[in-house]
């Protein structure tokens, strides 16, 4: 039995309880010409701010409440020692332009994290600057662009090939960096269709962007052949690291033949996702691309760390300062602590995924019958029930639904990634609920969820009657 908390919570600008943040009076002798006429921030006491957010938080699901098997999101446990590390004033209260002499600790963490990522990916150099996975993709593709620019080929090399099973960020990032996107279909096994790929690859091909295992959770063992096709064409091979948790310590993009990799620290390296962010999306490259990385990178000269700007073909900057150091520090803590045991996490994640896939295959169709890696995709089509309805039904049991309707190549898709942080008991419970979703009357399914804070929400109405801001406060009498 489960029941999420519900509070009929007002907007903060409706409280009118009187601000109580005490400060002494301040001299004001500035001209009217620069002064704003009025400012209407909420007028609320600290106690009410505290209560407001405590109540709201209880209306929010999270990893710290239970299983959260969103496919491709790797919602593993976020260890508290990493939060502790990120709370240390020695790291937290450092200005990004502080002298390098005074920030050796910070630079050491960054350097060591670069090296960790290089080893984990089988690449040669890394930048920590991108703010999120998609930002890493953009950075990687800008590196591709700059690479072909310096070779005088950019006018010709204006296409990026992407599989139809790819994450939506891949094509979006490619376009932002000024490329055209060419989509190649998957074959009947859910893998890259080599013939289709060969047909798509030509003189215009700048790069091929893929993730392996792909969004179906399947490892594409043609990868070396793919790399040969791409490299023989003078193109680059880009690794989307969203699914890295499957291969951590097992294989590397470097071994597979990739030239550029991005990481999602908030997935593979267990940093908390914060309701949508912040994340961090470092990028690693083979040595021939090092010169194109964003500046600065951190270098180590016999234990003295410094920011190195001397990459003459650098793409420059992709984020305001030095990247999401607060996130990097958490991920660094995670890697430092687990060390070579990290592969055990990958193994357990893969084991859990295969367990759920096999169990659920009794009730749901699982296309592309193969060994799964960290995640798998099932279709509810065979059950006559909508993935949407089942996803809402699941919520009623105090657990979060899988990613739904992705990847696009599977109808009524549910994409399930249990991660290593769940137990057999968690999975069995989840499987029971998914079985139950097929046995309850259709009507009950359609009415779910009923145990969550609110019931099913009118999403179409939200878009049609767009309300993106609270109403002005009602006057207090």
């Amino acid at each position: 039995m489960y029941r999420q908390a519900y509070y009929d919570e007002d907007f903060l600008n409706q409280f009118n309880t009187g601000n109580d943040f005490y400060m002494d009076d301040v001299e004001d002798s500035y001209p009217e010409s620069i002064r704003r006429k009025s400012l209407k921030l909420p007028d609320v006491r600290s106690v009410d701010v505290s209560r407001h957010f405590t109540r709201l938080s209880e209306m929010n699901y999270s990893v710290d409440l239970g299983m959260y098997p969103l496919g491709s999101c790797t919602m593993k446990f976020n260890p508290k020692y990493a939060n502790y590390a990120a709370s240390l004033p020695d790291f937290r209260d450092i200005h990004p332009m502080e002298s390098q002499l005074k920030t050796q600790g910070t630079l050491e963490v960054m350097y060591n994290m670069q090296q960790f990522l290089v080893k984990i990916s089988g690449m040669d150099y890394a930048t920590l600057q991108p703010s999120a996975g998609a930002h890493g993709e953009l950075t990687g593709i800008l590196i591709v662009r700059k690479y072909f620019e310096t070779r005088g080929e950019i006018d010709k090399r204006n296409e990026i090939i992407i599989p139809d099973s790819a994450h939506g960020t891949n094509p979006a990032s490619a376009v932002m960096a000024g490329f055209k996107v060419v989509e190649v279909p998957s074959n009947e096994n859910g893998l890259v269709d080599l013939e289709a790929l060969k047909a798509a690859v030509n003189e215009n091909t700048a790069a091929f962007m893929i993730t392996n295992p792909n969004t179906l959770g399947i490892f594409d063992d043609q990868i070396s052949e793919i790399a040969t096709i791409i490299h023989n064409n003078g193109s680059l091979l880009y690794y989307d690291g969203a699914n890295f948790n499957a291969i951590l310590g097992i294989t590397t993009p470097g071994k597979m033949g990739f030239d550029i990799v991005h990481f999602n620290l908030h997935k593979t390296f267990a940093t908390p996702h914060g309701g949508g962010g912040p994340g961090a999306g470092p990028v690693a490259v083979k040595s021939f691309l090092m010169d194109f990385l964003p500046v600065p990178i951190v270098v180590n000269d016999k234990g003295t760390y410094s920011l190195f700007y001397g990459l003459k073909n650098s793409i420059g900057k992709v984020s305001s300062y030095n990247g999401s150091f607060g996130v990097v520090l958490r991920a660094f803590s995670y890697v430092l602590k687990n060390g070579n045991n990290l592969s055990a996490n990958a193994k357990r994640a893969v084991m859990n995924s295969n367990y759920m896939a096999k169990k659920l295959s009794k009730y749901y169709k699982i296309p592309y019958k193969q060994l799964k890696k960290h995640e798998f995709v099932l279709s509810t089509e065979n059950t006559g029930r909508k993935a949407l309805d089942i996803s809402k039904f699941i919520l009623d049991y105090g657990i979060h639904s899988p990613t739904t309707y992705f990847p696009l190549i599977v109808k009524e898709a549910m994409m399930i990634e249990p991660t290593e942080s769940v137990t057999k008991k968690d999975m069995d419970y989840y499987i029971d609920v998914m079985e139950k979703a097929l046995s309850v009357p259709e009507e009950e399914l359609k009415q779910s969820p009923v145990n969550t804070s609110v019931h099913r929400i009118d999403e179409i109405g939200a878009a049609r009657n767009l309300i993106l801001k609270w109403p002005a406060p009602t006057e207090n009498h």
């Binding site: 620069i34 400012l39 999270s62 990120a86 790291f91 050491e108 932002m176 908390p272 193994k347 993106l468």
Partner: protein, 429 residues
Amino acid sequence: MSETDEILDYLNVKSVDGLFSDIPDRLKVSLDLGKPMDEFSTIRAIEDTGRKNKAGNMNFLGNGIYDRFVPPLVDEIIGRNEFLTSYTPYQPEISQGILHSLFEYQSIISDLTEMDITNSSMYDGFTSLAEAVRMAYRINGKSEVLIPENIYKSQLSIIKNYTEGLNLKIITYGFGTDGLLDLEDLKSKVTSDTSAIIVENPNVFGLIDENAFHVSEIKKDSILITYYDPVSLGFIIPPGEYGTDIAVAEGQQLGIHMNYGGPLLGLFSFKKEYVHRSPGRLIGLSKDSEGKKAFVMTLQAREQHIRRSRAMSNICSNQALLAVASLAYLSIMGSEGLRKIALITMNKSRKLKNNMKSAGIKPVFDGINFSDNLFYFDRLEILESNNISGGIRLSSISEYNGYGNASFFSVTEKTGDENIEKLAKILGD
């Protein structure tokens, strides 16, 4: 029988390695990351590394990131497990907490800027500025963008990276000897091809730029993008009041620690007619099947996970948690609190300029500074020997041609008066 054994049994494999038979052996690797550590040793190692940082309390660094007071209540709120360890609210019925909070964030930033709509966050200030340029281009498809001549190099670099392939021409406009933007110069450069004009206020020189209030009068059909300082809006005229179409800023000052410059918070607001061209996530207010107030992500068709290559942006993860931090910060401070913090900042800048002047170090401009103050001072070795942080050279962060040997000293409400006096004394000696 252990859980693992039970599962492997069920899967008919002898060991977990059997689940990796699809990965060719020649691709297999073993890690070289060191032995696992216990939790205490991990923490001790990180604390020891932290102690190698030696930032002192004579801190006059700014230029976009500021050491402002973060109320412990803010840290506590964003430390709540339910916010911290949740994902993007794809299932809104079980995620009302973060949705409600982000909706309020959108609202409070809209109120602060007097803009119509604010999205639910971007990575940081500079990428927000670049996304604003892209958005302007999507709106009007025009080919030129006008930027201030003193723009930060980093801002410019990111704009260039973000507009690869758009064929946008970047044109700079100048500044007067008073340090304010040159309205005449700007006016002369606005044409029917102008897609957007970027204005910064306070500007890169740290001045509250009264000329910025008049740019809308000369902008013609272009999009006015204002890069503002959110704390300054506690006192200063907000972008919405002077004709801004897209207002962007760095939100770090609003309750977020400096963290060596990240994670940050991009504030992104705009006029409502442009909503369908805007990047990023939007949280909308709706109702549930029982008529209760309920929130959802809306207009998702603009986003990459639906529209893929035709999306408004590739952004997916954003800075939701920090958006909540800024909401909490602004609510705790209230209008009066933010006004006082803005005023204290301006007063401290004035005091700094006065003390420096008395010590023989000339401010480059006479106007009203917010946090950043530019002085004719280049003996940076004095700073190091006195363990003072500050003195960022204008020439190191901007291509601006002039005042080459001037450098910045920045203040916040935390800057001690005694430190200001000490600084002037040391530098004047």
